[in-house]
């Protein structure tokens, strides 16, 4: 429809407000309380307009359009009222620097003085209890954008407007009851949405208040998790001072979580690696870059010549860019001549890759993030998105608040489990039984989508036979989930009309992880919940570029684009473009590398941005392997646990200091852009590869990562249409992007699967690698918490440490009581492999007999407890099930250095 604003015709859609239509049409209407992310509120009254045929003035931010409407937002009367309103705002502010939007508007309207005699002022309340941002009531105009942001975007309900009339203001937590504000006591998760919405600077990042607002903005992508939030990095005087989530970010639409928003300050950490270091005896000797590169090239040449290419391996970084990862792969294949390259997808979603490859023939999220808005039911299996993928977590809560049913399958009562319509709280390691049990109900109740299964799948009968063995009552005995809930979940999943499932490590990191993925895919196939909007199998890929690292070929079993290594066509193409043959023999997966190192077959190992010495399972074995290789290169931002064992350490450039691309969990390739220079001339990884390669007789002549992407596109059909030109002009591209004119793929498998028809793969429940025993009576599950990231190297070097500074052991209160433990007591966890010291905390998130801890702090040595047990086909480790025993430790008596510094803050 069309409306007329200030004599200009503007296109509008039904449901728009006048204000929204105006903004879209490029017409500026003064406003302070409106935001495209929030529902209309009508507080500032600046957006008023005259509407033909209606008496009085109307707030355009809350007035819906009607076809043919004629609106005027500029007139002498309106200008006078606006001046009066702005004067009122200025009259209440204690702080002349009540900045930003308000000052701009006041200046634009030439409101320079206040006619009112000095009167009541805003209460001088400052709240600095949050580590990242502060609130200053003296600058506030009580527009409630912060409150609405918290309620509507994050759903955390951490603050509320308090009081009424003139004294009304925002307050966090219980602060409003005592005339103060107390962010620290509130349910705030520091997502920053309120700060972003604030039009006056009453809420401001501490970095900005101390260093000043940014002078330039650089669009980039968050380098923590797989959501891939788009940000504008605000730069001032060569320093980043602010990271603001971009409104047009395709996966975050202006939202973010605390890690991306505030957890980037590690780039300025004092202990960042700045120069290459060579181990010499017990100490480190700084090297120049030239010396370091010579040394690497020399050693790798020596070892290749001496032991052959199979004595070398690389573990590349899922934290790095696609271009870097591709280059490391190319280096191993073209310069060394081996496929011994892996990345940390191995320990993460490798089971998803094998499970989805076998059933569907493609191993990435079938749908897109926007499908969360289209789903009619959301099933969350073994994932904890409100902590691990917070922007998606918020989106799921938003959907749930709209009335979309939510089913959560998780042994723990996570935040989503608490909200869920159904929480299936299963025994760890029993996914296959439970999902088969739901399948049983679907078969039994005739809920199979026969049209879909007959047209698009094969193997249904086998699956039907397999699930016949899992009547809900029997399934209940295996999983501990009441049969009633299994029935209800099966029914609802099958009959919602569009059931979208997301899954995480609670499915993959198991002895039978691939089977878990396959049984989940089977359910989606049987009910036709794939290939359609609002449905699908959507692995919540973990690291910022774990999807991309595998996509571009950092895998021992596939080349880029998951192309088989023995494909003759590919071999020819590879030879033509790289001038070198593609080794056809499959390489070693990471755990194979440990075995090879211990056996003395692996002599040189290059590890980039992956702290295996902290995060891989069965740490004793990993350490032994690392010590055993002759030449270990580690390239990292910090002296990680792994770097400490290296022969040579190279500093790395952070994501704010280089160009490249990441691929997020919806297959979206997005740019990162250099915002500042790396300190002390640190070379970005892609240049390191080029330099080493050149020194080893194979020059790589790229001058910019875009040229690397061009090469990837040539070699990889599913990325054939990707180029920096396109990435710069689009909100990224979702693969497959089959040609330079192909738009990319939001929704996969609409008509056909890569395999043609999708395959049901009937799988049976098999018990996990370990079960509780007399000696080890507890089942330990490990995973993430919101505030820290994986090995913690980055997040521990930011103010996130003020929020959480220790891993804790969550234990059910009944177990605590049984063992006579007080909240916060230090315990020793003992498994057949090793031990760990942790403070135990009462938690009803876990069931009796279960334990949970995170693994973000090296001193907790959690991964010493875990075994090398792994999924058979993918080698994804069984991080989620270990049998342990809990021993109380006398804090005073025990002579352990760590105990003395444990633990300032315990938080759940």
């Amino acid at each position: 429809m069309q409306i007329t604003i200030n004599d200009r015709t503007v296109q509008a859609e039904s449901g728009d407000t006048i204000y929204v239509a105006a903004v879209r049409g490029g017409i500026h209407i003064p406003s302070l309380c409106a935001s495209r992310h929030l529902s209309p509120y009508g507080s500032c009254r600046l957006c008023l307009g005259e509407i033909a045929g209606l008496a009085g003035l109307h707030a355009t931010c809350s007035m819906p359009v009607r076809d043919g409407m004629v609106v005027r937002t500029e007139s002498e009367t309106l200008a006078r009222h606006r001046r009066n309103l702005l004067e009122l705002y200025l009259s209440e502010s204690l702080d002349p620097a009540s900045t930003q939007e308000l000052q701009k508007l006041a200046q634009a309207h030439r409101v320079t003085s206040v006619r009112y005699p000095a009167g009541a002022k805003r209460a001088p309340i400052r709240d600095e209890s949050n580590p990242f941002f502060m609130f200053d009531n003296a600058r506030c105009i009580s527009c409630a954008r912060c409150v609405r942001a918290c309620d509507e975007i994050q759903p955390a309900f951490a603050l509320s407007m308090v009081g009424s009339g003139f004294a009304m203001r925002p307050a966090w937590g219980r602060g409003g009851l005592s005339g103060s504000s107390d962010i620290a006591s509130s349910t705030c998760v520091s997502c920053g949405a309120c700060v972003k919405e604030c039009p006056t600077g009453a809420l401001a990042e501490k970095t900005v208040s101390s260093q000043g607002p940014p002078a330039t903005l650089v669009r980039t992508t968050c380098a923590y998790c797989g959501v891939g939030c788009a940000f504008d990095a605000g730069v001032r005087d060569g320093n980043v001072v602010q990271m603001v989530p971009a409104d047009d970010g395709p996966s975050n639409s202006g939202h973010a979580c605390l890690k991306g928003r505030f957890g980037w300050t590690y780039v300025n950490a004092p202990d960042r690696l700045r120069t290459p270091l060579l181990r010499s005896g017990g100490t480190w000797k700084p090297l120049s870059w030239a010396e370091a590169l010579d040394c690497i090239a020399g050693e790798l040449t020596r070892i290749t010549t001496q032991y052959g290419p199979d004595a070398l391996a690389t573990i590349s970084s899922s934290r790095g860019t696609n271009e870097e990862n591709y280059l490391f792969g190319k280096f191993m294949r073209c310069v060394i001549g081996t496929n011994h390259i892996d990345n940390c997808a191995r320990v993460c979603h490798s089971a998803t890759v094998s499970g989805m490859m076998e059933t569907l023939g493609a191993s990435a999220a079938t749908n897109s993030i926007k499908d969360f808005d289209l789903a009619k039911l959301i099933l969350v299996v073994g994932a904890n998105p409100t902590e691990s993928h917070p922007v998606l977590g918020a989106r799921i809560i938003q959907a749930h608040r709209r009335g979309i049913p939510l089913i959560v399958i998780d042994p723990r009562r996570t935040e989503l489990a608490r909200l869920a319509d159904l929480h299936l709280q299963l025994e760890p390691g029993t996914n296959v039984a439970l999902l088969n049990g739901m399948g049983h109900v679907i078969v039994e109740e005739g809920l199979i989508d026969r049209t879909f299964t007959s047209e698009r799948t094969q193997g249904l009968e086998e699956w039907v036979n397999a699930v016949a063995d899992y009547p809900p009552e029997k399934t209940e005995r295996i999983t501990g989930v009441p049969a009633r809930l299994i029935r209800e979940a099966g029914r609802r999943f099958a009959s919602s009309g569009a059931s979208l499932s997301v899954h995480g490590l609670g499915v993959t990191e198991h002895r039978w992880g691939s089977h878990g993925v396959m049984s989940l895919v089977n359910l989606a196939l049987a009910t036709g919940n794939i290939g359609k909007p609002g449905t699908g199998i959507n692995p919540l890929r973990g690291q910022n570029n774990v999807q991309g690292a595998s996509d571009v070929g950092c895998l021992p079993t596939y080349f880029a684009g998951y192309q088989p290594l023995d494909d003759p066509g590919l071999a020819t193409l590879h030879q033509r473009i790289t001038g070198r043959p593609l080794p056809a023999k499959r390489g070693m997966k990471t755990p194979d590398m440990w075995d090879a190192a211990i056996a003395g077959r692996l002599k040189a190992l290059w590890i980039i941005g992956y702290d295996v010495a902290q995060t891989d399972p069965n740490l004793k074995k990993v350490h032994q392997a690392l010590r055993n290789v002759e030449f270990l290169v580690v390239q990292d931002l910090f002296m990680s646990e792994t770097a400490k064992l290296a022969s040579l350490v190279l500093p790395a450039a952070s994501f704010l200091e280089k160009d490249g691309t990441f691929t997020n969990l919806e297959r979206r390739i997005q740019r990162i852009r250099k915002a500042v220079d790396p300190p002390d001339g640190i070379l970005p990884e892609w240049q390191v590869v080029c330099e080493v390669s050149a020194r080893m007789g194979y020059p790589m002549t790229y001058t910019h990562p875009s040229q690397i992407m061009d090469e990837i596109a040539k070699l990889t059909p599913m990325l054939a249409g990707v180029s920096y030109d396109r990435l710069d002009h689009h909100a990224g591209l979702q693969w497959p992007v089959l040609s330079p004119t192909h738009a990319g793929t939001e929704l996969m498998h609409q008509k056909e699967f890569p395999k043609g028809k999708a395959h049901f793969v009937a799988v049976d429940y098999l018990p996990p690698g370990e079960t509780a025993s007399q000696y080890y009576p507890f089942i330990l599950t490990t995973g993430r918490i919101l505030q820290h990231y994986n090995c913690g190297a980055q997040t521990r070097r930011t103010a996130l440490l003020n929020v959480v500074d220790a891993d804790v052991l969550e234990m059910h209160p009944a177990d605590m009581e049984h063992l006579g433990l007080d909240d916060g007591a230090i315990v020793r966890l003992v498994s057949a492999r090793g031990q760990a010291l942790l403070p135990a905390v009462k938690s009803e998130r876990v069931l009796p007999g279960h334990l949970f801890t995170s693994f973000h702090f090296p001193e907790s040595t959690v991964n010493q407890l875990l075994s090398s047990s792994a999924d058979e086909s993918s080698k994804c480790p069984e991080y989620k099930v270990s049998a342990v025993r809990v021993e109380p430790v006398d804090r005073d008596a025990a002579d352990h250095p760590e105990l003395r510094r444990i633990r300032r803050r315990l938080i759940l």
Binding site: F157, A158, S164, A171, G173, R174, G175, G176, S186, T187
Partner: protein, 187 residues
């Protein structure tokens, strides 16, 4: 669910409805809080913060700040949600007020009939301002905008009783009764 049913109708039934095993080491006030919180069995309804706070105030006389975490927990809302509601309404209180509550109507009809003068007499007599409580804790003075008694104003409300056609003399005798009386109003 109606207000009346939601609220235990007397102390007796309220006590009957205590969960078994209710801890007895609590103060009276804590008991009341626990009891009232226990009586909100509205799982199917959206949590109604105002209603919960009003029923607590009815039992305890005010909403003790210490009870907020328990209320939040029972209702499944955050403490800031409760702070928002609790600070919005003039008739919700977080502190014990005087034993007796005198509310002077300052609606226009009463103002037309010299209510402001009446109020001045009261503040002089009691030596407290609006919202204040006498030092002996006996009387709290508040204003109210209209009690719907405009036809026989000026109007003063003492505890639960409404008095019309108030004069200075009548007010002083009411005051005297309040000041000399040692018991609180019913409840």
């Amino acid at each position: 669910m109606s207000d009346a049913r939601q609220r235990p109708s007397s102390q007796e039934t309220a006590r009957d409805s205590l969960p078994t095993g209710q801890r007895t080491d609590l103060t009276d006030q804590q008991q009341s809080v626990a009891r009232v919180i226990h009586s909100w069995h509205m799982p199917s309804d959206k949590p109604n913060i105002l209603k919960a706070l009003l029923s607590l105030q009815e039992q305890v006389g005010y909403v003790p700040l210490e009870s907020i975490p328990a209320i939040a927990e029972a209702l499944g809302v955050t403490e800031s949600d409760i702070a928002g509601v609790l600070t919005y309404y003039p008739d919700l209180h977080t502190h014990q007020r005087g034993r007796h509550l005198i509310r002077v109507c300052l609606g226009e009809a009463c103002v037309a009939n010299r209510a402001i003068r009446l109020l001045a007499e009261l503040t002089d007599e009691l030596r407290i301002g609006l919202g204040g409580t006498t030092i002996d804790g006996q009387i709290t003075l508040e204003r109210v905008y209209c009690l719907g008694n405009c036809g026989v104003g000026p109007t003063v409300m003492v505890d639960d009783m409404i008095y019309g056609r108030m004069t200075g003399a009548a007010l002083r005798s009411l005051l005297k009764r309040c000041q000399s009386c040692s018991q609180g109003p019913a409840n």
